[in-house]
């Protein structure tokens, strides 16, 4: 029995929880149970984000998605609660067609993900290249301790176990328009592709959120309830 790669162990744990509770969300008939399964599944997805090195996105997933959007869904479940004997089950025929189509989709997607050889396993190439010349996407996303880790972990052959991602500041600066992770790219300073930040999408999304909030508050205002 070889040494346990703890990154793989936690990946399997979070992946099984996420997939299992997603399937449980589909199979369940009780809307409250579906909401709870979805909360657990998205929490495990946040763990997967952390394992992939996206620490800021994982934290935002927990805060915004699980702590905001799903709480909103649960509010909706509570506000539209109907009598205890209302049954909204789908007929068997619909289930059979849905399962057949999802089986076809799975049969296409899963072999496609394993068809590209470069995706099947990580390698020290990406990490070493990123640190050899100080450029590339790995430059600022992973802290410098990985240098020592990449030398020491010859046996495992990947730098995942020692990477310490720090993405909050580059993301924050990228949203303001300064892409600090591609400062050292070797194109001339006059036209650096990829140097423009995400300031415009940031502003657009802010306006979008404002409009959505105003519209949703207007749509969901209290009106006289219809007689049952």
């Amino acid at each position: 029995m070889g040494a346990i790669n703890w990154h793989t162990f936690f990946f399997l744990l979070y992946a099984l929880v996420a997939c299992g509770f997603a399937v449980a969300c589909v199979v369940s008939t009780n809307i409250v149970r579906m909401a709870l399964c979805l909360i657990v599944s998205l929490g495990a997805t946040s763990g997967l984000f952390f394992l992939a090195g996206a620490d800021f996105v994982g934290a935002m997933q927990l805060m915004i998605y699980v702590g905001g959007t799903l709480v909103l869904l649960i509010f909706g479940v509570m506000l539209t609660a109907q009598g205890p004997f209302v049954s909204m089950k789908t007929g068997g025929g619909d289930w059979i067609v849905a399962v057949m189509l999802s089986g076809c989709l799975a049969a296409i997607l899963v072999p496609a993900t394993f068809s590209v050889v470069a995706w099947r396993s990580p390698g020290p190439v990406a990490l070493a290249e990123g640190h050899a010349d100080g450029s590339g996407p790995a430059a600022l996303l992973v802290s410098k301790e990985v240098d020592h880790g990449a030398d020491a972990t010859e046996a495992s052959g990947d730098g995942i176990s020692d990477a310490r991602p720090k993405t909050a500041t580059p993301i924050g600066l990228g949203l303001l328009g300064a892409r600090v992770d591609s400062l050292n790219s070797e194109t001339p300073a006059a036209l650096k592709p990829g140097m423009s930040g995400y300031l415009l999408p940031f502003e657009l999304v802010s306006m979008h959120l404002l409009v959505v909030l105003v519209g949703a508050a207007y749509l969901a205002r209290t009106k006289r309830r219809a007689k049952r």
Binding site: T8, L141, H208, A216
Partner: protein
Amino acid sequence: MELLSQPVGVSHFLVVGAVLFISGVVCMAVKRNALGILMGIELVLNGANINFVAFSSPTLNRETAYVLGLDGQLISLFVIVLAAAEAAVALAITLNFYNNHATVDVDRADELKG
């Protein structure tokens, strides 16, 4: 165990994303409760987010040509925000429908048929 000593690559993350996506699609197709359909939408968007984050990782990808870097993480942040906005609007529509019809069964939403 042999299984636990292999490092995971991008493919494993993509499979998880695919499973979430497929379960979201089935949830959207099969559920009669409007909120169940909303939950399917959330699952679909999270499947896509897992794909983006997996490709953005410099440690998971073997070749730098496939690494999205910070772009992947920023895109997934925007997807999270847009999913929250869309969930708010869809919930407002569902509440409006419930206020008018006293049910959230989408099979009963047939007044615009034909």
